[in-house]
């Protein structure tokens, strides 16, 4: 109990005599209103007669003449002893800055935590995208890449053709740590407008079984194989089209000299029905050429015809299960 008695705040009772009551001369402050810290803001507003809450941007009412004493008094004494300002008469010399037309510009703090340049939202349609600078630049990049790739020729519109629509797809490309990298726009053809036999034929493309991937991985572990991963950028755009496909000019990039022309596609686009197969065919043709060159080079070093087929088979085991990802497994030991 002694412990409890000793820290009893006797000293807190001392300032009671100094409490700001109706005798203003007991302090050194000018004879204006003195506010104890625990006076509520509502009591302040009653004395100042100014609309301080909510603060409007023009009128900044700071009470320059209200002197706030530091926290010397105990909070327990105030509510019971006196509400110090409630009975005060309104002093006529009470002024605010607003009455003297003194306005300070309200400083708005920008407390948003993201990076300084705002990332614009993904546009819902290409018309909105053309108004946004970032998206428009992304669209221009994509358009230029397609033109460089000689994806289409502009031709006069043929009579009675099947012309497919083109669509713009927008997305934010992100880095591996899911932070923003850049804006990405992709022009795709609307494959649902295509008709079998008119502008698309075979669409089948082989897909690998997951078990085959795991098999290759375990064989590569058991034999001295090196595994490498290759990546083909925009792989579908490399596929050559055998069919005649017409597409409207992309929105926002209509040729000003030939606005009525249509695009005759030379290379495949994302979204076409035969895009998968076109890419696969291109890739296989490339591989066969490559393998035949290698076989021609290394044939003198191989003894029998049986062994000669080995590298071919190993190079043929290209797994192309997704257009974006390719894995090439080559067994170096067979080439020695």
């Amino acid at each position: 109990m002694d412990k409890n008695d000793t820290p009893f705040p006797y000293h807190l009772f001392q300032p009671t005599s100094n409490l700001p009551t109706n005798e203003p001369n007991s302090h050194n402050q000018p004879p204006t209103t003195t506010v104890t810290p625990l006076t509520t803001p509502s009591s302040v507003t009653t004395t100042t007669h100014q609309p301080t809450f909510p603060p409007s941007p023009q009128i900044q009412t700071s009470p320059p003449q209200l002197t706030i004493t530091p926290n010397t008094t105990s909070p327990h004494q105030i509510p019971t002893t006196n509400p110090p300002l409630a009975n005060l008469p309104l002093s006529p010399q009470m002024t605010t800055r607003a009455q003297h037309d003194i306005f300070k510009p309200r400083q708005l703090l920008y407390l948003h935590t993201s990076s300084s340049n705002q990332i614009s939202h993904l546009p819902g349609n290409p018309i909105n995208a053309l108004q946004d600078h970032n998206c428009k630049m992304a669209m221009k990049d994509e358009y230029d890449a397609l033109i460089d790739n000689k994806t289409w020729d502009l031709v006069p519109r043929p009579s009675n053709p099947n012309i497919i629509q083109s669509l713009w797809i927008f997305r934010h490309k992100k880095k591996a740590d899911s932070s923003f990298e850049k804006y990405k726009a992709r022009l795709v053809g609307n494959g649902s407008n295509q008709h079998t036999g008119v502008d698309c034929g075979e669409t089948f493309s082989p897909i690998v079984k997951p078990a085959t991937i795991r098999t290759i991985l375990s064989i590569a572990l058991s034999k001295p194989c090196c595994l490498h991963q290759l990546d083909v950028k925009n792989s579908f755009l490399h596929g050559n089209l055998n069919e005649t496909v017409y597409m409207y000019q992309p929105l926002g990039f209509r040729d000003p000299q030939h606005p009525n022309y249509v695009c005759l596609l030379m290379k495949s686009l994302y979204g076409l029905k035969q895009a998968l197969r076109a890419w696969y065919q291109r890739f296989i043709d490339f591989l066969l050429l490559w393998v035949s060159i290698i076989v021609y080079v290394i044939t003198p070093y191989l003894s029998t015809t049986v062994e000669m087929t080995l590298p071919i088979l190993f190079f043929m085991w290209m797994i192309s299960f997704s257009p974006h990802h390719l894995i090439l497994f080559a067994n170096l030991s067979y080439l020695n």
């Binding site: 375990s218 058991s222 990802h325």
Partner: protein, 295 residues
Amino acid sequence: MKDLGPLSYFLGISVTRHTCGMFISQHKYVEEIVERDVMSSCKPVSTPVDTKAKLNGTSNNPYNDPYEYRSLVGALQYLTFTRPDISYFVQQVCLFMHDPKTQHMNALKRIIRCIKGTSTHGLHLSPSTIDKLTTYTDADWGGCPDTRMSTSGFCVYLGDNLFSWSAKQQSSLSRSSAEAEYRGVANVVSESCWFQNLLLELHCPATKASLVYCDNVSSTYLSFNLIQHQCTKHIEMDIHFVREKVACGQVRVLHVPSRYQIANIFTKGLPLQLFDDFRDSLNIRQSPVSTTGVY
């Protein structure tokens, strides 16, 4: 074409080489699934399903968002690429894609809770001999409460590495457990035949006969007993298919006690201890990197 260096990450699957083999896992994909779901703050559980009766479709509480259900089930199906231990449970929730009920969604949520707790698990591959195929097959007879179809599951090892598995409802009704098991044997024999052809094309053929482990004695006998029995004449095709392979020495069907039947994990919900044992047998382990500091 760009060379990205040694194989490290493809199709959402990360590949890590370490001293004793290779580790493939989809932990990033798991995190995406758990985040996408409304239950990102759920508590993990240790097993994906409890051991009670299987799901049925006779409830009257349709789930209000079938689209979400299907989307999640599809995501989990892709997750079975490196997680064979959940393939049975995913198969169970797949059965009700056409008409999901609230209880099915609850089962799905439980799977998600389980994979949240084991997100760092993945398939472990190690260098081993690649001349021998070992397969395990199991079936639960009449397991589906609605149709009484049997579910059969198998897993195939090349050397020590698991590379193929399946948990699937059989397409026809079986009148006896031996029949259901025998269908499972026929399925796994056809899988191993395909795989032997694949190995032949890759110029590393399997030189030894593939072993089929089955925990049903009758099925074991049926595979090499050449007498046509009265009770098996309706599964004649399966009978003769397996017998032919056994006769030419490609396949041997052997018996294994249920306690060591790894394929149990593809046909039923198991108690925790057994589930952990079998999962370990399937080479589903924690990432070797994450366990480095444990010792």
